[in-house]
Symmetry: C2
Subunit: 338 residues, 2 copies
């Protein structure tokens, strides 16, 4: 099996260094051909890495003293921090030494540097951030979750094309259905951008370039009505976080309800095995990494507050994007089918 | 006690006529000074109403043959359907014969007709749709949920002013906190409109015109971080429906988990009393009516698919908006405090 090399930006996150390293190590235990190049302060990194196995034998460290802060503007992160762990980890992919990048840092800066250095594929003008969401039937791909917060027609079309291609590869489907998020399902609903985008997607659907379902509403994300849900980065980001907050609120309500009597507590105990799988299914840490789509190589962004579990799942996703050659296959779909 | 008169638009909904009438009757049972004028086909209405008490003694019927369809454009509903149940029920409030309007019909048309005939109060340029959302601490007001799908700075400011005033009256608070929904909490996050709106709201906060908290994220809606959450109608509508869908998905997961063994089923049974209150708290029917804010009189819009329970809660809300003189008090706040 070929080795898969992941460049890890270890700076600028709210997560502690040991959580990041323990997280990627958990993924290393599951994926035996996975190797890492770690970008950060070598002294700090060394101290932790030397005690973690198999990470200590499957990683090398490149020292960086400069970090992109959460408060840095993307343009400043590009111009003023050329030796930051973020820029150097992306450079490592550009030079072919790593296959993908993982970062928990500043999303806007990571997107701007990725766009500048990795560039977009085929006709894609702006990359977008995709995520895999749970629904009652299984999973769907939702994008954009915050790469492009301006709501314009072209980005929506790009998102639809990228989401459809990603679903084909990740879900092994031939014709994944694509829904466009709107305030209602009737043709006349929504603003000018979604209206225009819907017309273009219908034409593309007629030409068999993708399988456009039409408008979908917020509740259709968890209903699993389509395999892909397309929206702008502002709405998508807010919808994702609203869903996470709601899922967590409902779970806490349920937990409290079962504390009402000894017998209900007992029932909760006897359902605990099934409940663990429910919690796992809904755990935002399993879903909260963002896949940067439309670039020449995979970039995976963990939430800035991810713990080791979140980091380990995000590392698994970065691994499988490389392993399944997702970027190359998506590019082929864009060139040959659109 | 003064009587409260509600004009009910009984046409153009996906709900059956008997569900609508049973729903308002349930509210009539709870509110003994509540009277109705029902707009719709008098033959159909009469047949049902005569068998429902106390509705049969607390309502009169005004015959309408014309209805606004869900597919009608707002401008067509205004120009071409002057004798529709929707227009006539709003006219009834304009002429002072009813105190408020309840409708399950076309939201866009209802908003356009309300705006034209009831007009906005004080400095408000565009009305917005508010809803009361459950959160882990209690409830908060979220707006706009779809009145104005164009994301512009002035509407966000209007929404903040209206939401704050509504919270003062409905929650009996002196300084409800107001959050502006964004893709992150850092000052630099978001598009130009939310950036500009945030600056203006900070200035208003300095002048004690309202209590502006700053940016909030999607998850903060259910965290209950602020009493009011402000956003544009496109994002708000999608966030609301995403939250409803997620809450329903999580509940169905939990239900399934407790079907895994006899003992867990038993535990579920023993927790059923507490679970009923959880379900009630999360029931979208309790929350899914929209309060049209910024008009001279209360207009309440039920979801087009509301059942009798949803209709009865919406009727309760219309009742208390009149009973608490919310519109007058909100107008006073806008005139004297802003």
């Amino acid at each position: 099996m070929n080795t898969i090399n992941l460049a890890v930006d270890c700076m600028g996150s709210e997560t502690s260094l040991s959580e990041i390293l323990e997280g990627i190590n958990e993924s290393a235990l599951r994926n035996e051909n996975l190797f890492f190049t770690l970008f950060g302060k070598s002294g700090d990194l060394n101290k932790i890495v030397e005690n973690i196995s198999p990470l200590n034998s499957r990683s090398k460290i490149i020292n960086c003293d400069e970090q992109v802060l959460m408060t840095d503007k993307p343009t400043d992160a590009i111009r003023l921090k050329k030796n930051s762990s973020m820029q150097l980890s992306i450079d490592h992919v550009v030079s072919g030494k790593s296959n993908a990048v993982l970062s928990c840092g500043n999303t806007g800066a990571l997107m701007a540097i990725s766009l500048l250095k990795l560039r977009t594929v085929a006709s894609i003008k702006r990359p977008s951030i995709a995520s895999i969401w749970p629904n009652i039937k299984g999973e769907s791909i939702v994008l954009d979750l915050g790469a492009n917060i301006k709501n314009d027609t072209n980005s929506l079309i790009d998102n639809a094309i990228l989401g459809s291609a990603l679903a084909k590869v990740l879900f092994s489907m031939t014709e994944p259905s694509v829904g466009l998020l709107n305030v209602g399902i009737e043709d006349m609903k929504g603003n000018e951008n979604v209206q225009k985008a819907s017309e273009i997607l219908s034409e593309m659907s007629n030409k068999k370039q993708l399988n456009y379902y039409g408008f979908v509403e917020g509740a259709d994300i968890s209903n699993g009505i389509t395999n892909v849900i397309v929206t702008d980065g502002f709405t998508g980001n807010i919808a994702l976080k609203t869903a996470e907050g709601t899922a967590s609120m409902v779970q806490s309500y349920f937990k409290k309800a079962f504390e009402s009597s000894i017998l209900s507590k007992l029932g909760y105990f006897f359902a605990s095995l099934s409940l663990t799988s429910v919690r796992q299914r809904l755990d935002p840490r399993v879903h909260n990494c963002g896949i940067f789509m439309g670039l020449t190589a995979p970039v995976v962004k963990c939430h800035g507050k991810s713990d080791r579990l979140g980091i380990s799942y995000a590392t698994d996703i970065a691994y499988s994007l490389v392993h399944k050659e997702v970027n190359k296959k998506v590019e082929n779909i864009l060139i040959n089918e659109i």
